[in-house]
């Protein structure tokens, strides 16, 4: 079947098997490898992307379900080579180590702040609870998100 969607403002279209996962469409067909896969059960959140503005685990959605939608992956967050406020905050707070969870984490936190621009620490922790990070212990990620929120409009 033919599937078409906008990813990071660019249109992609391909003939795919109905069972193809959205994450594989993004990684293998569109070659946007910033979106990662860390588990098979929807637990880890490394594959999180925005679908029509909502954060979605792209391993738990078919490419066919993405047909006609607008998707933002980690490659679409920085604009014209400029890091977003949140990305910059991750950098200054050392909110990443190996970087494998980071794309999903940035997307999840971007979504959180789009819904709740002034979250409490508890709300940040709940907001990124669908994303696993094994390196940082989360503290600096939470600090980075809180700092970005305190700086205002993050998108």
């Amino acid at each position: 079947m033919r599937v078409s969607m906008m990813i990071n403002g660019k249109s992609y279209s391909a003939e795919v098997e109905p069972r193809l996962l959205l994450v594989d469409f993004i990684r293998d067909i569109c070659s946007l490898t910033g979106t990662h896969v860390g588990c098979d059960t929807g637990n880890c959140g490394a594959c999180t992307v925005l679908v029509d503005g909502r954060s979605i685990k792209s391993c738990s959605m078919l490419a066919a379900q993405g047909d006609g939608r607008e998707i933002v992956t980690i490659e679409g967050i920085a604009q014209n080579g400029q890091l977003s406020l949140l990305q910059e905050s991750f950098r200054t707070h050392h909110g990443l180590q190996c970087g494998f969870c980071t794309p999903g984490m940035i997307i999840a936190a971007t979504y959180l702040l789009s819904k709740n621009p002034n979250p409490s620490e508890e709300e940040v922790r709940q907001g990124i609870a669908g994303n696993i990070c094994m390196c940082t212990g989360y503290q600096r990620i939470v600090d980075a998100v809180l700092h970005a929120a305190s700086r205002g409009n993050i998108t």
Binding site: T41, E75, Q87, Q97, G99, F100, G137, Q139
Partner: protein
């Protein structure tokens, strides 16, 4: 020496922002699974559903007839390439000489072991084909309990071995006399649980046999990226220089990715056979079942005390469940030997090591490999001693600590500690949590019927990786290892650095640039550090190349420093030629060589041009170009007598103290961390932001080890925890906020005073367990495990209450 140098450092010691971040934050990292090659095929592994079974027959015909399937490889095929099984436990050749493809030929030894490899045009087809491979198994009795496995009538895991057990006994000082003088002897059976470290990136490999050059290129998620080139070469009958191992970004490891060479050999074999690139990404379930687990240890132990709390000696019988792939030395069961008394000053002990094979996933390193288990033992015995003697847990530890004036301290097995102020570290942690304040509050809360406990624990992490420890079991093993760095300045003055290491989130690019920038007098932004490792491109290193055992802080810092110092000499000499001044009158800073006290200078660019392009004016006997390669070996003393278990088997010894305050809910058994602090003596920090990040990760990881992460096998040897829904890893919502304090007592032995850090020696885990022990002490609850769930705590509380109420009054 390091201290005197400090004031001159401009970049070392600064929280410089990371070089790695820009690509990782924008989705431009390149992990192994991201690499694509023309004509690439996709492989999937069929994992055994049985823990122990003979393979009667494998029928691959249905799988092969599926459209898009290229090949199905089984152990029977590989037998013809070389013997597929690991060596017998009793004696093995050098690890790297093994022809080991990690695929079962005649029998499977754990649930999850590879039995077939399907190669197909895409990964979906490969997965479909897995279901079409028909394996006829004859199930055998699995060997699961390590204590039962030691019995003479137990079924054998390895048919060729006479026994499931390897055994050694080590004695230091005079334990008999120590115990005869004791006022108190505590005895315990302790269990350190099996768990898996779960880097978010699983194992992955992409092998490409190039028939033109006869070179195999292997991208792989392996910590031991140098050794794997040798292992794969031996497995495939190639020369090591025909194998190019590559890894740019590694998605975490924590030790888990130390041993994956058997999978690398398998994927490489497929590529060489099929003459196509073959890519394999392990599923998470595959990874949890069949990557590696941490050491499960059972201890029967005793500790002898004087009335005043002085430790006199320890006796230990260790039973280490090493799963079904024996290492050259019992994996993780010998690391205690670097630090048998950990941070304490006592000299009499006896250790019996039983390394036992079982039908479970093989064990491999994980954070504080073998050290956290040993520290758990020592700290648990001290905790029990304190309780019996009525002493404060912090006080009894303070009494027995090695004092700073004893440094460098030689421990009973010959380990030489590289400095540090252990009492000061304890004082720091005590202040961080307001220990005395909590003790006072605890007394009040107890009267209110609340179960709040304060747990103190020391960890010691011996690192700096001296592989010589292997010689205890294998006299022919290597007696040490090195680290390499290369610096190139091109004809336009651009500086490129590479190290025979690999970063798994440890920020090597950033810290390497800081070191080189300081020595060459430039800004770290001017120093390009090659990301990751490429055996044909980065600094050529020895078989130990890669990252493991805190190597970077020791041998790689040494190599970077050595290479930079050589390059500095070259630049000064060449600059002197242009400025017509002797090198000793010159300075190297701000990207220039200048004559001291004058305004005459020459840029690096001009010097580089001279070295590369103006060889016509270079003196005839000067080397042209600007390339420096330095191989550093750590100043380890000659081993005493490894066969007797004596020698200095590490270069840095990093102490940590953790203090946890935990409340256990009486009604649900739920343990809640109220406050947590960890202090670590990391030695000189090259980048304090990075060090604190590593230590925070260690704290979170070990709190999770105590309360969340545990692998459970059922009575058939099935792993019940083979997804992230069952092997729990904490999320941001599960973990408390905690405080980390770093102190920097320079290491006496490393070139910059740095130490391996961010492993913790188990201190955070043990502090949590000790806090729970302390919380429930009024009920008389005994906790002998390194992991505990709310349900188990609830049961222990209920049992203790029943026992209390059934006891006659007045007792």
């Amino acid at each position: 020496m390091a201290d005197e140098l400090k004031p001159t450092y401009r970049w070392i010691g600064k929280p410089v922002k990371r070089k790695e971040d820009l690509r990782l934050l924008t989705g431009r990292g390149r992990f192994t699974g991201d690499v694509k090659l023309l004509g690439m095929s996709h492989a999937q592994i069929l994992h055994s559903p049985y823990a122990h079974a003979r393979i009667r027959k494998i029928d691959t015909s249905n799988a092969l007839s599926l459209s898009g399937v290229i090949d199905v490889i089984t152990g029977a095929e590989i037998v013809n390439v070389g013997p597929p099984s690991p060596p017998s436990p009793a004696e093995g050749p050098y690890d790297r000489a093994l022809r080991d493809f990690g695929i079962a030929a005649e029998k499977v030894k754990f649930a999850g072991e590879a039995v077939a490899l399907v190669v197909a045009e895409d990964k979906y087809i490969a997965e479909d084909a897995l279901e079409l491979v028909e394996v006829d198994y004859e199930p055998l009795q699995p060997v699961l309990d390590p204590e039962q496995a030691m019995r003479p009538d137990a079924p054998r895991v390895h048919d060729e071995a006479s026994d499931n057990r390897r055994f050694r006994r080590f004695v230091y000082g005079d334990p008999d006399q120590a115990f005869s003088q004791a006022d108190l002897v505590v005895r315990s059976r302790l269990h350190f649980h099996r768990y898996g470290v779960t880097p978010l990136e699983t194992f992955a490999a992409l092998a490409w046999w190039d028939d033109s050059t006869e070179v195999l290129t292997l991208w792989a998620t392996t910590d031991h990226i140098g050794e794997d080139a040798f292992r794969v070469a031996h497995a495939l009958g190639l020369r090591p220089e025909q194998v190019r191992t590559v890894c740019q970004d590694l998605g975490g490891s924590f030790g888990n990715k130390s041993y994956m060479s058997h999978y690398n050999s398998l994927i490489s074999y497929a590529s060489k056979k099929l003459k196509r690139p073959v890519k394999w990404i392990m599923t998470r379930t595959g990874h949890l079942q069949a990557s590696s687990h941490g050491n499960e240890h059972i201890f029967y132990a005793q500790m002898a005390f004087k009335k005043d709390g002085t430790i006199l000696g320890m006796r230990e019988r260790l039973i280490s469940d090493e799963g079904c792939r024996p290492g050259g030395e019992p994996r993780g069961a010998m690391n205690w030997i670097r630090q048998p008394t950990t941070v304490y000053d006592f000299s009499n002990l006896e250790v019996e090591v039983n390394a036992v094979a079982t039908n479970k996933c093989p064990v491999a390193p994980l954070r504080s490999f073998g050290k956290q288990q040993h520290c758990f033992l020592v700290e648990s015995l001290i905790e029990e001693g304190a309780r019996k003697l009525g002493m404060d847990p912090a006080q009894i530890r303070r009494k027995n600590l090695i004092r700073p004036e004893q440094m460098p301290f030689k421990n009973p097995s010959g380990g030489i500690y590289d400095g540090g102020d252990y009492p000061a570290l304890l004082d720091k942690a005590v202040k961080m949590v307001d220990y005395e304040g909590w003790r006072a509050r605890q007394a009040v809360l107890r009267k209110e019927g609340r179960y709040v406990g304060v747990g103190v624990a020391f960890g010691l992490q011996s690192g700096g990786n001296n592989r010589a420890q292997k010689t205890i079991w294998r006299p022919r093993a290597e007696s040490g290892n090195t680290g390499s760095a290369m610096i190139v300045i091109d004809s336009e003055g651009d500086i490129r650095v590479s190290v025979d290491s690999i970063s798994r989130g440890n920020s090597h690019e950033t810290t390497a640039a800081q070191i080189v920038a300081d020595i060459l007098g430039v800004d770290p932004d001017m120093v390009y550090v090659s990301p990751g490792f490429d055996r044909f491109g980065t600094a050529y290193g020895d078989v130990a190349s890669g990252t493991h055992g805190d190597r970077f802080a020791v041998v790689h810092h040494g190599a970077l420093l050595g290479a930079a110092a050589r390059m500095r000499d070259r630049l000064l000499r060449l600059g002197g030629l242009l400025l017509e001044s002797p090198a000793e009158e010159l300075d190297l800073c701000d990207g220039k060589v200048s004559v001291k006290g004058s305004d005459r200078s020459v840029t690096l660019r001009r010097i580089a041009q001279l070295a590369w392009l103006d060889s016509g004016i270079l003196p005839q006997d000067w080397e042209a170009g600007l390339v420096v390669h330095y191989v550093y070996h750590a100043p380890l003393p000659r081993l005493e007598s490894p066969e007797m278990g004596r020698g200095n088997f590490a270069l840095t010894y990093t102490p940590s103290v953790a203090i946890a305050v935990v409340e256990v809910d009486e009604g649900t058994g739920n343990p809640k961390v109220l406050q947590f602090a960890c202090a670590e003596d990391a030695g000189r920090c090259i980048n304090p932001m990075v060090v604190e990040g590593q230590v925070q990760g260690q704290v979170a990881h070990q709190i999770a080890t105590a309360l969340y992460e545990r692998h459970v096998y059922d009575s058939n040897g099935q792993l019940l925890t083979s997804t992230f829904k069952d092997h729990l890893v904490p999320t941001a919502a599960d973990l408390p906020r905690f405080e980390c304090g770093i102190i920097e007592t320079p290491s006496l032995f490393t070139p910059l005073g740095t130490r391996g850090m961010g492993e913790g020696g188990g201190a955070p885990l043990i502090a949590v367990i000790n806090a729970i022990r302390d919380a429930l002490a009024p009920l008389g609850v005994q906790i002998n495990d390194s992991h505990i769930t709310p349900a188990e705590l609830f049961q222990l509380i209920q049992n203790a209450k029943k026992e209390k109420s059934s006891r006659p009054k007045g007792e």
